[in-house]
């Protein structure tokens, strides 16, 4: 994910952020299915363990793909909503969707 930081190839840099099994699925849920709360992501994302969901959400916020917005006090609750940068991954998701539909299963 951010290991032996690699080349300046834009593909490699993109993969350093979204190149794992869960991150793009979470982004799909946020961008396509409009999931917002932790619980919504948890139910939607193919049984992702909560520990990984929490870590991925945090990383997506840190990297500026999602914004953590409080929407209620007592107790405080948050929504995770895509930023412009987050919305910019839609073409990647679309490309994967098309590939999967025409070349897999």
């Amino acid at each position: 994910m951010n290991p032996t930081h690699r080349s300046h190839c834009p593909i490699a840099q993109t993969l350093d952020i979204v190149g794992d099994k869960w991150t793009l699925l979470i982004l799909r849920d946020a961008l396509v299915f409009k999931r917002k709360s932790f619980a919504e992501f948890e139910q939607s994302s193919e049984n992702i363990p909560t520990s990984l969901l929490a870590e991925r959400l945090k990383r997506l916020v840190e990297n500026g793909f999602l914004e953590k917005i409080p929407y209620q006090d007592k107790p405080v609750r948050y929504h995770y909503v895509p930023t412009d940068k987050g919305k910019a991954v839609i073409p990647i998701i679309r490309a994967m969707k098309k590939f999967g539909e025409t070349h897999l299963a």
Copy 2:
């Protein structure tokens, strides 16, 4: 990449195959930079360990993305060349390239 096999979402299925740090980089090298031999991939792919390169190449062949073609006897040597299915990931790579160029670094 074929773990607790997930949903039938085409995105999830695509990620089960290319959702790691190296696979798409290898495909980039094959498709964009026309790498063919093991040595070419090894030098090109941002210092990938040989063990991982060997494993990923094997998996890409098994999954029908690359074809292993002998091009010389004594000693026998192989080229890894993209199949039609392999070529179909170009749009994904292009989408990542564009994203990386406009939104990272």
